[in-house]
């Protein structure tokens, strides 16, 4: 009844012998100890547990970890790179996209995948894309604004390639 799996999360492989019935969300939280992915309703309704499975957003409470054997998972912990927030995180910060914050990791993971295919979305498209993610604070207006903020940021970044990192004074002296 146990099975050996290797699941890569945010680029790091995690190997474990697990029971077949272990849900992916429990693997992420309890085997990989990444607790940014939340368990909300546990009944496939709320989307707080949304992660990317090979780039596709899924409710990780409704997948067995064994189904993800060999898969690449992305969670909210993988968004920030080198101390720099992902545009979607920056958007939620700037536009007050969270109140209690419980739905936020799922909202952001859904948005990241959505924005890849829809760089210039309408508010209606955003609302449709996040219709599987529930915010119990009902803060949808600011969530939509946050996603629009990220979309714009990502479009601007695309248009203007990142300049070479600024040389610090210490480095210049060297």
């Amino acid at each position: 009844m146990t099975q050996h799996v290797t699941i890569t999360i945010n680029g790091q492989p995690f190997e474990a012998d697990i029971e077949s019935r272990l849900l992916l969300v429990h693997f992420i939280r309890e085997v990989a100890n990444l607790t940014g992915t939340h368990i909300g309703c546990d009944t496939t309704s709320c989307g707080a547990c949304t992660v990317l499975v090979n780039g596709t957003p899924a409710k990780s409470c409704t997948l067995f970890a064994v189904q993800a054997d060999g898969a690449e998972i992305s969670t909210v912990e993988g968004l920030e790179q080198g101390g720099k927030l992902h545009p979607i995180q920056e958007g939620f910060f700037e536009e007050h996209g969270l109140q209690c914050g419980f739905c936020t990791p799922g909202m952001m993971m859904t948005s990241v995948a959505f924005l890849k295919d829809h760089p210039n979305p309408t508010d209606e498209e955003i609302r449709r894309a996040i219709s599987g993610n529930l915010c119990r604070c009902t803060g949808y207006v600011n969530i939509v604004k946050s996603i629009q903020y990220a979309a714009k940021k990502m479009r601007d970044d695309q248009a203007a390639p990142t300049p070479a990192p600024a040389v610090t004074e210490a480095e210049a002296v060297r």
Partner: protein, 292 residues
């Protein structure tokens, strides 16, 4: 919620699936997208001892027109169907049904084959596929069997699949010229099952309805084909009075039950309205008013 334990297999071919089904007859369930089965297992309404995942079986993700039919492989994901230009252009009713199954995240893993094989009368595809005259392909070591969806759907969560058979694809006859289809669902919010929903298909020949299909969701033990309403439409011009009478007949064919969403009579009334709307839309599409 933790499901009961089970042994998991992810075989690489149909013959391996058949072997496992034979070895564990009665104790094994096929796992497709899992978006209905896993919730049932978490609630312990289902506790299969063996799960046979189809994810590694090749050849089950076909989505194309072939030999006069649209072939939908058993493992085609709902989101794949929903985003397919072919479905959006030529099978609008199926597109509309796929776009209201659960929510966008569930649709990324949910499969069309699972939606049909689960045989939940609340699922959206069966009614639409009944209206389109779909057939089911089942494969077993004994060969390939084809049956109409009407024959496939036996009762609530019960199908005509034999213990050694696997649903491998769904075939929808290519619509004749001047055919339109539509699917309209009433749900309280995204992600809910239908309070009621209706799938329709109409073929026109010189302004007269030559074929009609009407399927009803979540108002009986299975998806229901409204046979009397279909027969009434054939040979008539689908004018407003005809549409209204067909809608009345369709609602009469339903067997809704009173529940949290409302009394049976309310649902019958909803069905009459939805059927009329879905028929008008299918007729408009058959007349060339945008898509099929």
């Amino acid at each position: 919620m933790i499901p009961d334990n089970f042994t998991y297999f992810a075989p690489n071919s149909l013959p391996e699936v058949w072997d496992l089904l034979r070895q564990h007859e009665g104790d094994a369930k096929i796992l497709a997208g899992g978006q209905s089965l896993i919730p049932l297992m978490k609630l312990r309404l289902a506790s299969p001892a063996y799960l046979i995942d189809l994810r590694n079986v090749p050849g089950l993700t076909t989505l194309e027109e072939h030999d006069g039919s649209l072939v939908i492989g058993a493992m085609v994901r709902e989101s794949h169907l929903e985003q397919s230009p072919l479905i959006q252009a030529r099978y609008l009713g199926i597109y509309e049904a796929s776009s209201v199954v659960a929510d966008p995240l569930v649709r990324n893993f949910a499969t069309v084959g699972g939606n049909v094989a689960h045989a939940d009368p609340a699922n959206d595809h069966p009614a639409m596929l009944l209206a389109m005259g779909a057939h089911i392909t089942a494969q077993s070591p004994r060969g390939t069997r084809t049956m109409s969806l009407d024959d496939f759907l036996v009762d609530t969560m019960e199908t005509a699949l034999r213990p050694d058979e696997v649903l491998t694809d769904i075939r929808v006859p290519r619509p004749l010229p001047h055919t339109g289809s539509a699917y309209i669902k009433l749900e309280r919010k995204v992600g809910d099952y239908a309070i009621a929903a209706v799938g329709t298909m109409i073929t026109l020949d010189g302004g007269v309805c030559s074929r009609a299909g009407i399927g009803l969701t979540n108002v009986g033990p299975t998806a229901i084909r409204a046979r009397q309403a279909e027969a009434y439409l054939v040979g008539k011009q689908p004018d407003e009075a005809t549409v209204r009478e067909a809608a009345r007949l369709a609602a009469a064919a339903a067997e809704p039950v009173t529940d949290l969403h409302g009394p049976a009579e309310y649902k019958r009334s909803v069905l009459r309205t939805l059927t009329a709307r879905a028929l008008r839309l299918a007729v408009q599409r058959a007349q060339g008013g945008g898509g099929q």
